[in-house]
Each structure stands twice: as C-alpha cells, then as structure tokens.
Amino acid sequence: MKGFRLVHALALIGGLLFLYVPIGILILYSFNASRLVTVWGGFSTQWYASLLQNQALKDAALLSLGLAIASASIATVLGTLAALALERARPGRAKLLFGGLIAAPMVMPEVITGLSLLLLFVALNVERGFVTVMLAHATLTLCFVTMIVQARLATLDRSLEEAAQDLGASPWRVTMTITLPLALPAIIAGWLLAFTLSLDDLVIASFATGPGATTLPMRIYSAVRLGVSPEINAISTLLIAGVAALVVTASLILKREKLIAG
C-alpha cells in the first residue's frame, strides 16, 4: 500500500500515450514527403514551405494574433479586477452569485455563447468583424484569468498589505504597490492562457465575426472539412508548438505557486 506501483505506472503511461500519440502522429506526418497522409514517403519540410505561399492563411494568422493580444489584454484587466473582488468580498450570497457569473462562460456550450453574442451584436446593429470577435473572446477568457489570479491572491501573505496600511498607505496605493506586483506572475500567466484560448477558438469566432475577418481556426476548419492534408498538419504543428511554448512558459512562471494545478 505504500508508494508507486507497477499498476500506477501503467495507468500513467497508458493515459499519457492516449493523450499524446494522436498529436505525435499529426506532427510526424507534417514532415511527410508524400501527399498521402498515411503513407510515409520520407522526411520533408515542403508543406511548411507551401504554407509560406498561402497568403489567405498568413492573413488569417496575423488577424488571429492581433485578436489574441487584444482580447487577452482586456480579459486580463477585467479578470484581475474580478479576482480582487472575489478575494476581498465577504462570503455570502452576493459573492456566490458573482463567482457563478464569472465561472459560467467557462462551462457554457460554445454554440450558445456564440449564438447569443451574435444576436446581441445584430440587435445593437454593430458591424461585425475584428472588434466583435475581440469582445466575444474577452468575455470567454476573463474567467480563466480570474481563476488563476484568484488562486494566487489566496496564497498571498496578508501581513504585507496590513503593514503598508498601518504605515498610512491608502487602499489604492496598497493595491498598486503591494497586491498587484505580488500577483504579477499569475496575471502574466493568465494573459498567456487567455491568449492561447483566443488563438484556438473556432465556434465563438464563427458566430461573432463578419465577412472581412476570418480567423486562423476558421481557415483551418474549412480546410479540414475537405479532408486530411499535409498542409493542415504543418500549420497545426506550428500552432501546437506555439501554444505549448506559451503554456509551458505560463506554468514555469507559476511553478513555485503550483497554481494551475489548483
């Protein structure tokens, strides 16, 4: 009954293989010289080269990057405010309700969020495009920022804030010079995660966007519907590598706090 046994190791290896083998196969075949996705024709980077020729894909990638930066920044400001509020509020019905409202977009099926945002934009007669997708993504991702920042605030040493207060600092000043700098790693990590979520989103963007703004996942989706192709494998590999780098960075920032693990 003590420690790590063979069964545990097998469960771990099995689970991780299940999670990573499909991604591994996808990456492997992005370097396949053959156009047939399941026949290995030797190593080649030709599909990456052909990506560079694809102007529509490059435009979509640029648009998605801009969207991710803008929406993650909004989500980080709002999400951090919400985390401060949740951390300081007294327990009670209002806090519970507010927490529920913050968490709701996280579990809501994307089709519902997307449809309802679109109907709002139409009702308000807003022209749909970059701005509407940005607003939609900020709404979707702010709860993730709140979750991460709140976890950090919960572990902060309160005596520092109290000391500053005793020395006469105003509440505003305490927040700006003590609380926020201490929470900075979590805020940065939250921004990175909001960025990756925005970069990945297909469903909500499809609803919220207009004719002029096609995001990268939307381009990939319309290509995927036509079937498996090595170019999609190549662009997917690039996206996976980029996102993985960001997530690893975020978790390294949070490493000591162990926050993502909850």
Binding site: L84, A89, V111, S116
Partner: protein, 296 residues
C-alpha cells in the same frame, strides 16, 4: 467592512462587462426564440424596437419555434443522442480519468507537477487540431487501420470515422483533462492515514478503495463529470468532424439551423432548451458547492 466596499468597486467593471456580453445576449436569444420566423429571418435586420414597445412586444410573442422543436421528432432525437453520447463519454472519461488521477497522486512528489502539466497541456492546445488528429487516425486506411492490419488483428478497414464510436473517442480524448484535474485535486489532499487505519483494522484493498477513497473523492468526481458532460452535450466540432451525417447532436443542429437554414428563431429556441437542460444540474452543483463553502 471597508474591504467589502472595495470589493464591490472592483467587481463593477467585470460585472458590467458580463451583464452586457453574457447575460444580455441570453435575453436576446430568449427574445428571438419567441419571435416570428418571417420577422427575424432577414439575418442582418436590426431587432431592437425600444422600451416603449414592451406591450406590443409581449403581444407579439410567438411560441411557434418551440412548437416546431417539440413537434418535429428530429430535435428531440438530437437532444437524446447528445445526452446519450455526452453521458457515455463522461462515464468512459471517469473510468480512464480516475485511475490516471489516482496514479499521479501515488507518483513521487517531484514528478507530480510535471505530470499535471502534461495532462493540462493538451487542453490548451487547439481543440480543433486535436479532433483533426483523430480524423487521420480513424479514417479508412488511416493510421489505426494500418497498425491493426499490420499486426494482423483485423483484415479489413474498421470504418470508424463518421460513426458514433468516433464521436465518443473524440469526446473522451478532448475532455479527459477536465476529468483528471478535479479528481486529482481532491485525491491529493486526501488524508492517507485514513487508509492506513483501515488497513490496520484488516480492510482489504478493494474495500478500502470503495469505502474510503471513492467517497472522499466524490466532490472531484462530481466536478469532473460536470465539466465533461455540460460542454460535451452542446459540442459541435467533434460530431461535425468525426460523426458523419447520421450522428445528429443538438449543438450541431443549432449550428445547421443557424448557418445553413438561417432559421434564427428555431436556432434560438434550441439554445434556450439546451440551456434549460443544462442549468438544472448546474444549480444542483452550485447548491452543493455553496453549502460546502458555507460550512467551511
């Protein structure tokens, strides 16, 4: 006291934001779901008539879309299929996720953070791409067929792509991290001495597991099932890419009604019904968590 006032101040901006971009849109959906198809169909016409016409608005309410929803067996079928598939996927995810979460807690302390990161990482990498990866594996003559035929387990292609099985695989795969994390979070905090005490008193491993570990892990199991089932039931990408035309799930029906048939009231009615269907377990969940928080 002061802290609470400042909390309210900080809550103001996110609260306003969510009111405008999360709550208000649902009211729009509700409103469109109750309006006439003909009036709402020109997709880009503005629908806002101002507050002065609230009376006229209520007079104009129309339950036709909901009537269609109930009358046509297709929609009810799609609801049931979605519930069945999401439920099965939740169960399978639990059966895979629990041992996985348990194994992580038994791993040496210094590995645990890395293992948790490895479980989370796929969650952050594009959903669409992870589903796409399974298309290449499951399609006829795809990777799985080649491997199975190569080692002689099967003699002909399995034709898994465009079946319900493929949707299930895609769902379990995509949502597994949601199941593992909450279960891991409770198991990690579990007091080991309880199990040791039971062992000293002569309880067998299986008894110990069923009478101590599982009950203590219950909040995590609930949270995990909730996090898999709720997004799963409205899932669009997975049934669309892996499910073929006969796997009609409600999220996909909503998408089709909206983008292909351009029937906005019907799509909205689907959204409202789906939401009502989801809110019930969500309220129960919050009630349970709320009581727990209050007890703390």
């Amino acid at each position: 006291m002061k802290g609470d006032r400042r909390a309210r101040l900080a809550a103001l901006a996110p609260l306003l934001w969510l009111a405008i971009f999360f709550v208000l849109p649902f009211l729009m959906v509700l409103r469109i779901s109750l309006s006439d198809a003909a009036r709402a169909v020109p997709p880009y016409a503005p629908h806002w008539e101002g507050f002065g016409q609230i009376g006229a608005f209520f007079a104009g309410l129309d339950f036709e879309a909901f009537g269609t929803l109930w009358g046509d067996g297709l929609y009810l079928d799609a609801f049931l299929t979605a519930t069945r598939i999401a439920g099965t996927a939740t169960l399978i995810a639990l059966l895979i996720g629990f041992p996985l979460a348990y194994a992580i807690t038994r791993a040496p302390k210094r590995w645990q953070n890395l293992l948790v990161l490895l479980i989370i990482l796929p969650f952050w990498t594009s959903f669409l791409i992870r589903v796409y990866a399974w298309m290449a594996i499951l399609r006829p003559e795809g990777v799985l067929d080649r491997v199975l035929m190569g080692i002689g387990l099967t003699s002909e292609p399995l034709r898994l792509l465009n079946t319900e099985t493929a949707v299930l695989i895609g769902m379990v795969y995509s949502y597994l991290p949601f199941m593992v994390l909450p279960i891991y979070a409770v198991l990690e905090k579990m007091d080991r001495s309880l199990i040791e005490a039971a062992a000293d008193l002569g309880a067998r491993p299986l008894t110990r597991f069923l009478t101590i570990t599982v009950p203590l892990a219950r909040p995590g199991i609930f949270a995990g099932c909730f996090l898999v089932f709720v997004p799963g039931i409205g899932e669009f990408v997975i049934p669309d890419l892996l499910g073929g035309s006969e796997t009609l799930m409600i999220g996909r029906v909503l998408w089709t009604e909206f983008f292909s048939n351009r029937d906005w009231p019907l799509a909205s009615a689907v959204a409202v019904s789906l939401l009502a269907f989801i809110i019930l377990p969500m309220m129960i969940m919050r009630g349970v968590l709320g009581r727990r928080e209050a007890a703390r």
